[in-house]
Symmetry: C2
Subunit: 299 residues, 2 copies
């Protein structure tokens, strides 16, 4: 089954301790869509300006991503410039130009409204809600977020939480949202706000799931050389939901395996600047690393 | 086979956000010895003063720990008082009284020198070396350490590293020792200083092993209620080496499984003040939680 992915499509200028690049393909939906495309057909919903490179559109098309929901508007594409600190766990924003993204209000083409799997990648919760309201009868909706919305749009975010099946956020966001330091307690608390599945991303330490009954621990694939972590979280979410849309097992089992696919594709993401490594992946490379990760955890 | 464990034996006064206790049984060797005792016979080497409660000696005896190497001296037992911050990842020392520990120089009883498995739990590297020099022909020596020795006894620590099979340290210590932020790179770098096996403890995130060829990722058992993390690292090391001494599989496989036992027993340790929870454990409870941990990781 195909997956609908809505979020930001951006141009990123990134500097990490080991690499830098300008006007790279970025944004939550771009990362998530490319990641999901290794598992299923993807419908991308977003907006770009008239400065958006053709090469990036071609990359999406090569990955067989349906672009009928990608608005092309007069003006500048959302631009973000950031620089990572030496430990690559923290970064600072140097410049943000919202451009056409400032007035973005996703309108789904008619066929998109019937999608069964939906990933509301990181954008303002009010836009995520706006997309949900256009959906006819989705089977599984996952939403990702970022710290910004906890501070500026908490009531929208809480409304969103009551309407999604899975909520994906990182460790510091989970602590911030719940006031709980312990991540398992934080995850349990978030399920009480609505989502049946809560997935907390812990970066290099992997991710944990609380499914209402028990936790699941997904390891991260250990990398000795991280080039750029930008988009790793979006990639994780994209691969997870892309896998779910393709899986034939029951949801609780598929989510576990989907998180492992998420970890694996996110590890590739970190090995290149922006989407450079992810874009060149093959499903075979993903499967090989998944098998290796399984070996690295088995006892 | 039995395991020789040398380290500190102490009285701890601990305050965490959820519990507190005074003059609890503590010290690296106490935690490690109790943890190891669920897997094999333990010979404990340490020193206590004449204020050391009989009840604690009885606890060691109940766990069938050989105390012929535990010196009983006139004076005060090593005392530590500490208080944890709300996140329990940091703590501050309120008081330390070295007492009889100040002049401790471990002298091994003759039968102890033939031990095949040795855990040099956290004490000054010069004392760890002094113990090693008395050993006849150990098959496997593991050493644990703490940040203090990286700052005050680095050259002794480096000498020690060249003489042990396995070195166990936590994430911040590994970064401090190597200057590497990436833990896999840090582990690889430490193997170049001598030890074939380097195990980096990451607290709630589990532990990783580098064995010269590939990493192994050991998860932590997810706990919603941490009472007191004191001694969890010592417990991890004790259970690991205790299991190794009892294992019949090849060393690389046994170390992986031993780390899982380490994680499991350390998780129990965190559920009680000091050694209160660990001391009451049964092997059956350990096996049950290990099976559960396996389920929580399987995909």
């Amino acid at each position: 089954m195909s997956v609908l992915i809505v979020g930001s499509t951006a141009l990123d200028s990134i500097k990490t301790p080991v690499a830098q690049g300008h006007r790279l393909l970025g944004g939550s939906a771009s990362h998530a869509a490319i990641a999901a495309s290794f598992f299923t057909r993807v419908k991308l919903v977003g907006v770009v300006g008239d400065d958006f490179p053709q090469a990036y559109l071609e990359l999406f098309r090569r990955r067989k991503i349906d672009l009928t929901g990608l608005e092309l508007r007069k003006g500048k594409t959302f631009f973000w410039a950031g620089e990572y600190e030496p430990d690559m766990n923290r970064r600072r924003t140097i410049k943000t130009v919202l451009g056409v993204f400032e007035t973005f209000k996703p309108q789904l083409p008619e066929p998109h409204r019937a999608a069964k799997f939906v990933l509301l990648a990181n954008i303002a919760p009010t836009l995520q809600l706006h997309v949900l309201e256009q959906m006819r009868n989705p089977r599984f909706v996952a939403a990702d977020t970022m710290d910004l919305w906890l501070n500026t749009a908490l009531s929208d975010l809480l409304k969103l939480l009551s309407r999604v099946d899975a909520f994906i956020l990182n460790d510091s966001e989970a602590r911030h949202l719940t006031g709980e330091i312990n991540l398992l307690r934080a995850a349990i608390k978030i399920t009480k706000l609505g989502p049946k599945y809560v997935i907390i991303k812990k970066g290099e330490h992997g991710a944990i799931l609380w499914d209402g009954a028990r936790p699941f621990i997904a390891p991260a694939y250990p990398l000795a050389n991280v080039v750029d972590p930008t988009g790793a979280g979006d990639t994780f979410a994209g691969a997870l939901v892309g896998y779910l849309a393709s899986a034939r097992t029951s949801l609780p089992a598929a989510i576990r395996r989907g998180m492992i696919y998420g970890s694996v594709v996110a590890s590739f993401c970190c090995e290149g600047l922006g989407l450079q490594r992810t874009a060149k992946l093959t499903r075979q490379q993903i499967e090989r690393r998944l098998a290796e990760l399984k070996r690295l955890c088995s006892f």
